[in-house]
């Protein structure tokens, strides 16, 4: 009798294995470097090492090409299909961009510990595992890995009260929502005796709202109950409206580089998990869980649009914007058709990349004032950016227009397709409310543009010059978004195969 732990057929987790092993190596390497005499500053080298690791990770992912096989490995606890492959690819490239853009911030703010990059890499490992997890246990562990890293990233500036406060808040609410997830998962296990998504699918594939009443061996209500708990816990992680109250405080208080990371990167992975649970495993219960999502959608769009009007800080404005965007993404999630899933991924990808662009500009406009450590921008800190840095202002304006959903931009295309999916699945009320609120939400984007260009002041603010690397990157991002407007077919092709995930269940 032989027990093999890792076989060749488990080659599909090679990228994750690579990341995990290189994390251990990085810990050793940096520890030995950092305890040398004089405590040398290794933040720049560790940053570049982290980028290198992520680059190799993406390369390994692209290189093996195993996603066509749809292998599920390690006793069916991991699945490696197209959804996990491409969401991992997006997450990997987002985090590479993220690491590249936070480099000046880390050096300016004197975040000297090398662990900052390690924590980000840990979070990326958690997100990767989350994307390909195929049972509740793996998903839970991956969520924990990712969010534990985020708590520490939020509390990283130990001498700032705001940062520590944000970390504690994030930790307590994250632990609370994880416990809800565990409660729902244990109920599911108690009823069905399995935690595997594929087995859930086999059990409940032929359920529909008509034949639910014929189930005699157990009460179906308890499954809805468990599903709602899981839904609430994942909504906590996404900061969707009734569960969003932690988000403005945490995002405001934590260091900007951390906020950048957890505002942009993790949403896609959590949506992949939501898809796997609710579309792949429990599609039969579609009619019962979609009402709860409708409530969350309407609330979060309203909160995101009206809450943002009051904000004076750029960070919290972006938080409210992200809350309303999660609402729009959930509209597509809620519609339940092939197109809606495709549009969900289009929307999330565009949301992530334009978020990347806005946050990068936010990090790059560093004020020449005497309080160097302050990086919590008021809206007025961007006044007359159009005069002092012309190109950056143009980039900023264009991306804001795209996020707000103005017609020529890619943001408009994805937003209108989300509304179309809502109308196609007869959610007229939701579509009406969200379109109206989207108009209201446009106000604060336009106010930003007004501050950048048309403010009636004689003296604007001055900024430090941008490094060549950041300038190239931000232009690349900007032209990528422009290119997607010229040729959106690329995006639609990329996201079309996502919708095939649910082809077995719909």
């Amino acid at each position: 009798m032989r027990f093999e732990t890792l076989l060749f057929k488990e080659i599909v987790i090679l990228p994750e294995l690579f990341l995990g092993i290189s994390l251990v190596y990085l810990v050793l390497h940096c520890t030995f470097l950092a305890i040398q005499k004089n405590y040398p500053l290794i933040q720049r080298s560790i940053l570049n090492l982290g980028i290198l690791v992520l680059f190799f990770l993406c390369y390994l992912l692209l290189n093996d090409g195993l996603e066509v096989l749809e292998l599920s490995s390690l006793n069916n606890t991991l699945i490696n299909d197209y959804v996990s492959f491409s969401s991992k690819l997006v997450i990997g490239s987002l985090s590479i961009f993220c690491l590249l853009m936070i480099q000046p911030y880390i050096i300016n703010q004197k975040i000297n510990q090398f662990e900052y990059i390690l924590l980000i890499l840990f979070a990326v490992l958690g997100l990767f595992l989350l994307c390909s997890s195929n049972d509740l246990l793996t998903a839970y562990l991956a969520i924990e890995l990712q969010s534990l890293a985020f708590y520490v990233l939020a509390a990283f500036k130990k001498n700032s009260t705001f940062s520590v406060d944000a970390g504690i808040k994030y930790f307590i609410l994250g632990a609370f929502s994880s416990s809800l997830f565990l409660f729902g998962a244990s109920l599911l296990y108690g009823i069905t005796g399995t935690i595997n998504f594929e087995e859930f699918k086999d059990l409940f594939l032929y359920f529909s709202s008509e034949n639910l009443s014929h189930m005699t061996f157990f009460n179906v209500d308890i499954i809805k109950f468990a599903l709602i708990f899981i839904l609430i816990s994942l909504f906590f992680k996404l900061a969707v409206a009734p569960f969003h109250t932690w988000a403005p405080d945490v995002y405001e208080g934590s260091p900007t580089a951390s906020t950048f990371f957890f505002a942009v990167v993790p949403k896609l992975a959590i949506f992949v998990l939501l898809l796997r649970i609710f579309y792949y495993s429990f599609y039969g219960f579609f009619d019962s869980w979609r009402y709860f999502i409708v409530i969350a959608v309407v609330l979060s769009i309203i909160v995101g649009s009206f809450g943002g009007l009051e904000q004076r800080k750029l960070k919290s404005l972006l938080v409210y914007s992200s809350i309303s965007h999660m609402g729009y993404a959930l509209i597509a999630f809620n519609a339940g058709t092939f197109e809606s899933i495709q549009m969900l991924f289009c929307y999330l990808i565009i949301y992530s990349f334009s978020g990347l662009c806005i946050w990068s500009i936010f990090l790059l406009t560093r004020l020449k004032t005497n309080y160097l450590q302050k990086h919590n921008k008021d809206l007025t800190d961007l006044v007359l950016l159009g005069k002092s840095n012309y190109m950056l202002a143009i980039f900023f304006t264009t991306v804001l227009f795209s996020v707000a959903g103005f017609p020529p931009m890619i943001g408009f295309l994805v937003k209108i397709s989300v509304f179309l999916t809502a109308i196609e699945s007869s959610m007229f009320f939701v579509a009406l409310v969200s379109i109206l609120c989207s108009v209201i939400g446009t106000f604060y984007y336009i106010r930003l543009i007004k501050i950048v260009y048309f403010e009636k002041v004689l003296v604007g603010k001055l900024y430090y010059p941008i490094t060549k690397q950041s300038a190239i990157l931000i232009s690349l991002l900007f032209f990528f978004l422009l290119f997607l407007f010229v040729n959106p077919t690329l995006l639609y092709l990329f996201s079309y195969k996502f919708s095939l995930l649910v082809s077995t269940s719909i």
């Binding site: 027990f3 732990t5 606890t77 924590l119 840990f122 246990l137 991956a142 534990l148 109950f225």
Partner: protein
């Protein structure tokens, strides 16, 4: 097996009595954790609730988990809690006002949720045929009759084979926790380094303590 053979019905009765005893202690002590004003007492009640749940786990033949409860929760975490609470020197005032303020709303929400959970769980898990007799907590594990494993053996057999990836992820979580703890506590700043200066410490007496 040697010695006195305990009759089966007596055995079941003892198990039942022990189960009700432990669960009563567990419920009461968990209530006390919330309602007691002094936080040290509260942690001690937490320890009591851990111990009684370990007892229940023993009755359910989960020896390993029960021992882990005692070793980890009682031995490490609760003691750490006690340590922190004693160091923090918390004041126990103005709790009643807050309790009264939030009591009606909290009870409403909690009551609604509790009744829903009880309702739905009660409807689902009622397949125990002994549920009305004294034997309700007894079940015959047929696998035990054929082949006996200790629980740790059973866990060990799946952890390193079936759930090897989950085991590795858990290891990664631990590594992350270690790194995080080091980050949040280490102080590389040399100026504010709290070094022990033995001479200063020895030459300290009660007269010059208050002079700064």
């Amino acid at each position: 097996m040697s010695g006195v053979q305990i009759p089966l019905s007596l055995k079941k009765m003892i198990i039942n009595i022990l189960f009700y005893l432990f669960s009563t202690i567990l419920l009461l002590s968990s209530f006390m954790v919330i309602f007691v004003q002094n936080s040290i007492y509260s942690v001690l009640f937490l320890v009591l609730s851990f111990i009684s749940s370990a007892g229940i786990l023993f009755l359910l033949k989960c020896e390993f988990l029960a021992l882990m409860f005692i070793v980890i929760y009682v031995g490490a975490i609760a003691v750490l809690f006690l340590f922190v609470i004693m160091m923090l020197d918390l004041k126990t005032t103005s709790l009643i006002k807050d309790t009264l303020k939030y009591f009606p709303f909290g009870t409403l929400i909690g009551g609604v949720f509790l009744s829903e959970i009880l309702l739905v769980v009660d409807e689902t898990f009622k397949s125990n045929p002994y549920s009305n007799s004294l034997l309700s907590n007894f079940h015959l594990n047929w696998i035990d009759k054929i082949d006996t494993f200790t629980e740790i053996q059973a866990i060990g057999q799946v952890v390193y084979t079936q759930y090897v990836l989950q085991f590795l992820i858990a290891g990664n979580v631990l590594l992350l926790a270690t790194v995080a703890a080091v980050v949040l506590t280490i102080n590389t700043d040399k100026a504010s380094d709290k070094k022990q200066i033995i001479f200063k410490q020895l030459s300290r007496n009660y007269k010059n303590v208050l002079i700064i």
